[in-house]
Amino acid sequence: MATLLIAEHDNQSLGDSVSKAASAAKLIGEDIDILVAGKDCSNVAEAAAKIDGISKVLICDNEIYKKHLAESYSQLIISLSENYKTFIAPATTTSKNFMPRVAALLDVPQVSDIISVIDEQTFEHPIYAGNAIETVKISSEKKVITVRSTAFQASGEQDSVNIESIEASEESVLSKYVSEELTESDRPELTSAKIIISGGRGMQSGENFVLLEAIADKLGAAVGASRAAVDAGFVPNDYQVGQTGKVVAPELYIAVGISGAIQHLAGMKDSKVIVAINKDEEAPIFQVADYGLVADLFKAIPDLEKALG
C-alpha cells in the first residue's frame, strides 16, 4: 500500500511546503504518489515529478479543481482512496479545508500539523498553541495527516518520474467560487522567507508599515504582523503570524512593536534567530528573543534602515 501526497499549488507553481511534506511522507516508509489537481497545472506536475522520493505523479487537469473547492476536491481523493493507506498534505488553508473531509468520508481520524514521525502509526503534533506536544497513535488501517512544514527539511531532487493523467470525479454542486482578493507582493512569501520582519499594534497605522517595508527590501525579507495589527486594519489577514495565522520558522524573525502573546509566539518561536524591538522592557517577546532592543520603534527602525546601508 502507498501514500498519496496532495500537492499545494496555485495552478502555476508548486508550493515549497510540498517538498517538506514529502520528507515527512518518506519517514512513513510507503511508496509515495503525488496528486496534482487543478486547471492548466502541468508545470506543477513537472515540478512535483522531481521531488525526491516520489514514485509517480497523478495529474487531474479539470476546471472543477481550479479553485480547490473542498467538496469536489475531497471527492476526487476519495475516488482514488482504494490504492492508498496514508493521505498526507502540508497544513495550508487549502488542505485544512479538504483533508478533514477525506478523513470523515473514510471514517478514520486525522492528525493535524505533525512535527515528527515516530513510526508509520505514531506522530507528534503541537497542541495548546505549541505549549504542549502530543504523541498520538493511529490504529485504523487508513489515516489522514497534515504536516507542519517548518518542522521538516525539503526533500531533495530526483530525475523526473512518470506523470499520469487521471479522470475527474463528480463535481459537487453545493458550492461555487465567486471571487478572490489576493494580496499582491514582490516580496517573498511568509512561509518560505529566510527573513521576516513583523509589525504589531505598536506600529500605530498601516501607513507606518512602510518603515518595515524599507527594511524588508534591504534584507530581501517578507513582512508579517500580529493579530492586533491585522484586526486594526493596518495590513491584510494573510500577514498574520501565530496560532491561528501562519506558522513560520525563518533564519531571522524581527518582531517590531509586538508584545509576544502566547498566540503570536506559537507562530514564530521556532525561528532560528529572533530579534525584538519594543519600548517596554517587560514585554514577554524579550523572553524568546536572542537579541532584544528596548527602544521606540519610530527611532530604531529608521536607524536600522540606515545602519543596513
Partner: protein, 249 residues
C-alpha cells in the same frame, strides 16, 4: 431559519498551560475555563442573523463534562435560545464530535450550523469540515463575512493568499475566523434571563453512535524551551551581532 452552534469548553486563552509531570495531559485542576474564542464568534454571528430577522432559533450545543453547562449558559446569556449538553467525561475526538452533531442535526433540521474554525486546546481545525462531509452539506470555512441571500449564503474566507468568496447552497456548515465579528458581553438582565432557558441533557449513548477509538494519545510532553538572549543597547550593536555573531544578514 434555525441555527445550531456547537461550542467547546476549553482552557481560557489567557492561561499559560502546564504539562502534567506524568505526561498524561495538561493540568486542568483549578484552571480557568471558557468558551472557545472562535465559538463565541459563532454564537455572535448567529445572534446577529437573528437580530437581522433571518434566523428564528439558535441552539447552543456542547459535548463535554457536566461543567460544559456553564459554557452553554454563557451562550444563552449572549442570546441563544436553548441548549443541548451531550455529557462525556472522555476526550471526544473531532470525528466523534462531528458524528454526534450530525445525529442532532438530523433531529433538529437546522439550515445552518456555525462552528469555530479551531478549538484552541487541540488546535485540530477538523470538526466543521468533517461534519459537512458526513451530512453532505456545503461548507464555508474560516469565514470573515457571511451574507444570507435567499436559499444560498455568500461566505468570504480567510485563506493563505488573502480572501476568497464562495457561494453555498443551504443547508450549510460555516466555521468562523477571528475577523467575522466582535462577540458581545452578556448583560446582567440577559444573564438572569438565561437561567430560565432550557438545557436538554443527553449522553452519546442516547444517540446510538458508534464512537471510533482508533486514535490513542500516548503522551503529552513539554516543548523545547527557548532561552532568552541578550539585550543590545544600540541599533549598531544589533546589526553587528546579526552580521558577525549570528551570521543571518
Amino acid at each position: 431559519m434555525k441555527v445550531i452552534v456547537p461550542i467547546k469548553r476549553v482552557v481560557d486563552y489567557n492561561v499559560k498551560i502546564r504539562v502534567k509531570s506524568d505526561q498524561s495531559g495538561v493540568e486542568l485542576d483549578n484552571i480557568k475555563m471558557s468558551m472557545n474564542p472562535f465559538d463565541e464568534i459563532a454564537v455572535e454571528e448567529a445572534i446577529r442573523l437573528k437580530e437581522a430577522g433571518t434566523v428564528t432559533e439558535i441552539i447552543a450545543l456542547s459535548i463535554g463534562p457536566q461543567q460544559a453547562q456553564e459554557t452553554i449558559r454563557t451562550a444563552l446569556a449572549m442570546g441563544a435560545d436553548r441548549g443541548i449538553l451531550v455529557k462525556s467525561d472522555e476526550n471526544v475526538s473531532p470525528l466523534n464530535v462531528a458524528k454526534i452533531i450530525k445525529v442532532i442535526a438530523e433531529e433538529e433540521n437546522p439550515d445552518l450550523i456555525i462552528l469555530g474554525k479551531q478549538a484552541i486546546d487541540d488546535d485540530s481545525n477538523q470538526t466543521g469540515q468533517m461534519l459537512s462531509a458526513l451530512l453532505g452539506w456545503s461548507q464555508g470555512t474560516f469565514a470573515s463575512e457571511v451574507k444570507i441571500d435567499g436559499q444560498s449564503v455568500l461566505v468570504t474566507r480567510e485563506v493563505d493568499g488573502g480572501l476568497q468568496t464562495i457561494k453555498l447552497n443551504l443547508p450549510s456548515i460555516i466555521t468562523t475566523d477571528l475577523r467575522l465579528n466582535e462577540p458581545r458581553y452578556a448583560s446582567l438582565p440577559n444573564i438572569m434571563k438565561a437561567k430560565k432557558k432550557e438545557i436538554t441533557e443527553k449522553t452519546p449513548e442516547d444517540y446510538n453512535i458508534a464512537m471510533k477509538s482508533d486514535l490513542e494519545i500516548l503522551k503529552v510532553s513539554e516543548p523545547a524551551q527557548r532561552e532568552a538572549g541578550v539585550k543590545v543597547e544600540t541599533v549598531e550593536e544589533l546589526v553587528d551581532k546579526l552580521k558577525n555573531e549570528a551570521g543571518v544578514i
